[in-house]
Amino acid sequence: MVLLNKILTKALIMKKIYLTFIFSFLGILSLRAESLTQLEGSFKPGPAIILIATLVTFVLVGIFFRAKDPADYYAAGRKISRVGSGMAIASNWMSAASFLGMAGMMYGFGYNGLAYVVGWTGGYVLLLILMAAQIRKYGKYTAPDFIGDRYYSRDLRIVSAIFTILISFAYCVGQFGGIGLMFKWILGLNYTLAVIIGSSVVLLYTLISGMIGATKNMQIQYVIIVVSFLIPIFIMTFKFDYFWLIPQIGYGAAVTDVIQGIPAPNITNGVSLVNAFGHDFSIVPSPEFAMPWDPSTGTSFFQWVAICFSLMVGTAGLPHVIQRFYVVPKVSDARWSVVWGLFFICLVYWTAPAYSTFGKLLSSNPEVGVLAKDAIVVYTAQLGNVNSLIVGLLAAGAISAAFSTVAGLLVAGASAFSHDLYVRVINPASTPKTQLNIARIGTIIMGLAVTIVALLKLGLIAQLVSVAFSMAACTIFPLFLLGIWWSGSNRTGAKAGLFTGIFITAISITYFIVGLSGGSLPGQTFISYWLNVWYFAWIGAPLAIIVNIIVSRFTTPTPLEIKKFLAEHVHN
């Protein structure tokens, strides 16, 4: 009863906050929309107010649902429902890479960009079938917790904790890049300042809230992400005379138009279709946009398969994704939350290719100039002459996407730092308060380090994020897969497999850094293609699994109590 009262009180307070924001938003709508003259460079007041309102909401939600003890901080007190958890999975998952990067990849690399769409959704099938319920049954808080316990190894716990931090780190870099781009677009700031401001805000609310706040925030963020992403595409399919009731199908005719070309002037129902600059809605025949692994995109069939495979396997090995299954009350909830999560994710993923298609059509006039691929979603809405406030909402959605993921990643990274390194290794006698403080210090250190690397602009958002996937696929995924499904996988085998994955990762990243700095190592071209930093898991993950199996076969078997626990608790 007391709990119910608390929930009702919180709900009333939240209602007041939302009503305030809704009226503020209506007030903004009454303002005269600024006429679009340039794609970026100037301060945009409407979108800026929407952004600030959104960020204030996140922080308030963080405060109202803040963590009170370590269990709340790490696993949201296991109070989240199936649909709620699904929304949180989707929000946590849909980062700047999904919101901005995916459309950017399709805009720049055509059909090969679809490898990201398929890779980032198909991995959930593996996650459900091979991991979700079993992880929940195992009953640990974090990925290193599972690995340390399953492989009865302190060393493996430490190494996997370090890799959890590195994976979260690599993932965050792309997000901070996306945040920087959107802050730059809205506030008219330079990229450096934009990244610094964005990272400060996301750090602030992650510190205040922990995962329980983050989970509530993620549900709100999901709604913002979906609404902001879908509205412009409904408007554009309607405006440019495609089947707008289901734009995720309606844009198919636009894909065909890109392939076949649309001659100018384009007059439909007596109305001349133009973009925001007044250019005709026309394009020269551009089959390279949709034809598979087109030579002009500089991509190949192998790369499509390698990227797709790496992303899929990486999905099933990402610590912050796996961690979501600890927050559901029951094992069956873990399974159904994947279905809900995937459905919510697909709502956005079905739409992303539509942005790249309209982006192609609307930017075909040479006078539009060269557009940054990572911001093509926002540019497309601008070029489609969508109301600037709705474009502002779209940018706020992009920031929400990045924020929700960063929050999850920072919590995963901080958990690995405090729970798996500090509590388990350095100071087992620490109090819950100390643990929480250590988690917060870990979050700050990681946030600052990510900000610095994000300022270097090492690649496109989706590409940067895919490094994290390949790392997870080579290191964490094999340990979970074999740890759950083969009792014969032992500590020595796990160590050998993990170091194989780390070795492949190290080679790929070393060659990437050397190549980026203009240098060359032996076999630079060969390694850069076959072990590319964006998809090295195509070989790294299977190798790590094979090595784990071979070494396990010839070394001391897994202890009886581990086998017994797996058989009785994880596999019924």
């Binding site: 003259t37 100037s42 059909y111 959930y124 390279e288 949709a290 598979p292 002009s296 192609k360 596999h571």
Partner: protein
């Protein structure tokens, strides 16, 4: 003492009837998933054919004549058209765009009469200045400069129309005018044009097959399959898996 072998577990060798059924469901799901995702891409790769666009055929049939200086409207207009169609693709690399712009400009100045050359050169120069100004301008000034650019584009398009066949308002005319430059190689035998045939081939040849040419709900079939259908399939697989597993648990009387 319990034997360690009693609790040995592997997905390939389940310990009981429930485990075997569970394994069969998992393997079936993974198989469907793998064939649907990768099997289709392998099929796409297997049946693809390198297919040229019409513009490549136009280019290849006129290029030898252009090289020898045989510039009649019968060969230079299709040639110019093919160059413009490639230049209009926004995937073209900057270095290739430069070659294409040079080719378009070189051809234009070869076919227009001397009396028009001076006017055209001055127009190109004005247009360039206006574009530079546009980057700096804000608000009202921006709109004025934009209008002036539009007028200049029209003027230049009209000057070249008898030789290019591009009418004002067409996308080709915009691409054409935006490609013209004050500086350009004098002849198509210039070393900078040696890469032109390769550039045209790169951007005008595509991997096509029955799967890419068939339309489904407005999409090319392969695009629909990958961008829309596979995602539906993933959700369906997840739902079916959950239903099957929960049915199996209930049937075997297992409480998780």
């Amino acid at each position: 003492m319990e034997s360690p072998d009693l609790y040995n577990f592997s997905i390939f060798r389940p310990r009981n009837h429930h485990g075997k059924k569970n394994r069969n469901v998992i393997f079936s799901m993974v198989l469907i998933w793998a064939i649907a995702v990768f099997g289709f891409q392998f099929l796409l790769r297997g049946i693809q054919k390198s297919t040229p666009e019409k513009a490549l055929t136009m280019f290849e049939s006129t290029w030898p004549g252009v090289l020898t200086g045989d510039l009649t409207p019968v060969n230079y207009k299709p040639f110019l058209n093919s160059l413009v169609l490639v230049k209009g693709k926004n995937i073209v690399k900057p270095e290739d765009q430069e070659v294409l712009s040079d080719a378009i400009t070189c051809l234009t100045f070869k076919v227009i009469p001397d009396s028009v050359k001076t006017v055209l050169l001055s127009g190109i120069s004005d247009l360039k200045s206006l574009k530079a100004k546009l980057i700096q301008d804000k608000d009202q000034e921006y709109l004025v400069t934009k209008k002036m650019i539009g007028e200049k584009n029209k003027e230049l398009t009209d000057i070249c129309a008898p030789y290019s066949d591009f009418k004002y308002g067409s996308l080709e005319a915009v691409i054409f005018i935006n490609s013209l430059d004050e500086k350009y190689p004098e002849s198509f035998n210039d070393i900078s044009f040696t890469s032109l045939p390769e550039i045209m081939k790169l951007y005008l040849t595509h991997n096509q097959s029955i799967l890419t040419d068939t339309k489904f709900l407005g999409f090319p079939f392969h695009y629909f399959y990958t961008a829309v259908f596979l995602l539906i399939l993933f959700i369906t697989l997840c739902i079916v898996y959950n239903i099957l597993i929960e049915w199996r648990l209930k049937k075997d009387g297992i409480v998780e």
